[in-house]
């Protein structure tokens, strides 16, 4: 039985559909990230799971028991979940230890147990020495750790995180990503993590649910989302890509100036009669100075460099194949330097190309 089940979940404000027929299943101990641009409905979905917002249609259930349905919402305090907020929401009038112990005291646990569990979790998040400090005396990263400790010490049925890292600076954000994943590996709480930052979602989640305009477009493991995006939105939102239209003919996709074998590329077209869209990541192509040996199914095209940008970790070239109107972005390692206007050979790896619907 799935731990957490969202089925047909929708939320409208008047005519505005903020969340539109969301279906999502989380297994016991799974970490799923809701990823999407601002306004896509991911936070509304999370707050419906928490019980702060009543759905207009659909249900939310845990272990088969319905928690939310239109007109019948179990209030948040009776769900035994916990949540980490964008503002951290650390209570400034309580010490670190009091903040963390709050949920345990609400469960009416014996004082001694509250103390041991509080101390243990503070050690886990490396805050043991700051237990008696007030939040105003902590740095942003430390406050974030207090929020983490407060949320996991109660052993929630589901742990919810709402853009928890968006108020931190870049270095700290990267550190906390690994910290969140480490804590998940240690405690294995069923977790829903809302973010608009794809790197955050990739680093932390078992699966990513990409949301757009209130709907979930694709739910898959991070590497599948990247290499096999199923919709145009997912392909464009996650990483950089070249979206190219192609024509189907029997077992081939004909593109402007070259063709690819259908069996070699990822995904299958939904409709054989229509033109299809392909996502070619910049890493799916390689540049060569001289003509390399032809590999079976790897199109090889003479081309010219038309623009270049140095990004530190790689070169970003814009390449124009001869006898084609295409303009493709190609990624190359930092030491592979080509001048603008230089003639090169462009080699395309069909396995890294996906059909997008």
């Amino acid at each position: 039985m799935p731990r957490l089940l969202l089925s047909g979940l929708s939320k409208s404000y008047g005519p505005l559909k903020v969340v539109d027929d969301v279906n999502l299943t989380l297994e016991e101990g799974e970490f799923v990230s809701l990823l999407g641009p601002s306004g896509c409905g991911k936070t509304t979905t999370l707050r419906m799971i928490a019980g702060f917002i009543e759905p207009t249609a659909g249900t939310i259930s845990i272990n088969g028991q319905v928690l939310s349905a239109p007109g019948a919402v179990l209030p948040p305090e009776r769900r035994r979940m916990s949540m980490i907020f964008q503002s951290y929401a650390i209570w400034p009038n309580m010490t670190v230890a009091e903040n963390v112990a709050f949920g345990l005291k609400l469960q009416k646990l014996p004082t001694a147990e509250v103390r041991t569990r509080t101390n243990r979790i503070l050690d886990v998040v490396h805050l043991g020495h700051l237990a008696d400090r007030y939040p105003a005396e902590l740095s942003g990263g430390q406050q974030q750790r207090v929020a983490l400790a407060r949320a996991i010490v109660v052993q929630p049925t589901v742990l919810l995180l709402d853009e928890p890292l968006s108020n931190l600076d870049a270095n700290l954000r990267e550190e906390m990503r690994f910290e969140i994943r480490r804590l998940h590996d240690e405690f294995r709480f069923t977790t829903v993590y809302v973010t608009h930052d794809q790197a955050e979602a990739m680093a932390t989640a078992d699966r990513i649910a990409v949301m757009n305009a209130g709907r979930i477009e694709q739910v898959d493991a991070p590497h599948v989302i990247y290499t096999r995006p199923r919709t145009r939105f997912v392909a464009a939102f996650i990483g950089r890509t070249n979206l190219i239209e192609g024509k189907l003919s029997e077992d081939e996709v004909g593109l402007d100036g070259f063709a690819l074998k259908l069996g070699q590329i990822g995904g299958a077209p939904a409709d054989m009669t229509q033109p299809i869209l392909l996502s070619m990541r910049p890493q799916a192509m390689a540049l060569h100075r001289g003509q390399p040996a032809q590999r079976d199914g790897y199109p090889l095209l003479p081309a010219t460099i038309s623009q270049r940008t140095y990004l530190g970790e790689s070169w970003d070239y814009v390449v124009r194949p001869a006898e084609s109107g295409l303009s493709l972005r190609v990624s190359a390692p930092p030491l592979q330097v080509h001048e603008v206007g230089e003639a090169v050979w462009l080699e395309i790896d069909p396995r890294q190309i996906a059909v997008v619907n």
């Binding site: 702060f52 035994r80 929401a89 052993q155």
Partner: protein, 582 residues
Amino acid sequence: MSMTETATLPAPAIATRRPGFFARMRYLEPSTLLWILLVAVLLFLVAVPIGKLLIVSFEKQGTGGFTLSNYFTAYGRARYLEALGNSLILGTGAAALASVFAVPMAWAVSRTDMPGKGLSWAMVIGAFIMPPYLGAIGWILLAGPNSGFLNLAWRWVTGSSEPLVNVYSFAGLILVIALHSFPLIFIFVKSALDLISSEMEDAANILGAGTWKATLKVTLPLVWPSILGGIVVVFLETIALFGTPAIIGIPARINVVTTQLWQFFEYPVRVEVAAAYAMPLLLITMLIIGGQKRLLARKGYVSQTGKGGERREIRLGVWRWPIFAYCVLVSLLAVIMPVAVLLQASFARAWGNGLSWSNLTLDNYTYLLFRHEMALTSIWNTLWYSATAASAAVVIAVLVAYIVARKLVPFGSALGFLAMAPFVIPGIVMAIGFYAAYAPPPLALYGTALIIIFAFTARFLPIAFANASAAVRAVHPEMEEASRILGGGRLFTVRRITAPLILRSIIGGWLIVFIVASRELSSAVFLVGPRTRTMAVLLYDLSEAGNFEVLSAFGGLLLAITLVLVAIGMKLAGRDFMLRRN
């Protein structure tokens, strides 16, 4: 205990099908009931008195039939119309003079290296907390035409037989009002100036403007909305002011709207005419505040954005001293001189005889405290009316602010509107409304403590609401949600999380209401009965009697009580708790 074991779910989860009425009632928050209760309270405190005021102005005295004759009476005599004109001139003059006092001081304290800034700041606070009618009494002692100290000194120095200044004149009235109202403009302008980055002036300097030019062309225009806002507030306060015009204007035979309203309340009470006569005051206030809100809503002003940037003091060089002298002069006129003569008179056998051992006595104070029939009662009345009104206003304000901020009910903002409505109703108008609504049967509250407490609660509700609203909005909703998701119910969360977080500002708000209520004269004077006199009203009674030594001693008592309260407030709620503007 192992951290990896999973928590068990709570047993009662709910069914998918839409539950029945009783099941839904279990999850219904009590806020709806509270909303209905608050609407009733606010209607009683705000809407009914003002509605009644309107109705009464069209009623025949005695029969209650419809008539327009009240309006003909109210505007049918030159004397009454002249009072209207006088009020407008007085308001304009006082506002203009107050800005002359306030703006240079605010600029010097906020942006320059003038010496004695702390002292100037303290003097402004002093002028702010001093009840206005005490300043008026102080100035009678200073500038009375015959025995005022300034005139005595003038005659002694020059040998002239004419007085130098006469407080019993239109100019005197304007001066005294400006001297106690300039702190309002000061506070507005200073807080706006505090937000302007020095980079604004640097940008003017680099283009070739000197310090003075930059100040006049850049800095002051940036805070112009605040100056104007301060002027508007002083104007509105002045046209609604009762104490100073009554104490100085009536002997000087200068009639203004508020003193004319007072005369309509002398026997036989003509509340219908008074209601009709109060309409211009109400309309002017509503129009000006409404217009100002519109104006400010349309444009964004630099003075209202809190963006930082470095702030440096402007170096004034030798100009520090003339500017400091100006601040000292304003302080002398507004606080030091009036308070000094007031205290001197309060300890004197005969105030005109000046400071000497033979003239010194405690008799004025002992008379008030032990022999006067009303003085102690009025002190007690003032304290408990003000405390009750402050508590009621704060409770209503916090509940409304919470409901509005958390959007707990649909149309919650209607509550906020009602709570803020008294802001555009002059106190004296509100008092007449309360008199018209609740003095006659069925409630027959005239002469009771209740009618005063209700009127104070309504009158100062906007202060309490603005305060509570800011306090509640400062608590991020996620602070409460964090408690709820961990298992705290709504009421538990309000008690354990929200209440402690807003407590300090709420105490500050309570004290502000308590302090302003304890010195309130203009609405109290219409509602007190023989046994429900407050200190402010008794002080006004004493001023009519003309015994200045006893009057000054009572003023001294009032000042002492105010100072104690302000000191408590500063201790509990921070030094500037009375100056926070929301």
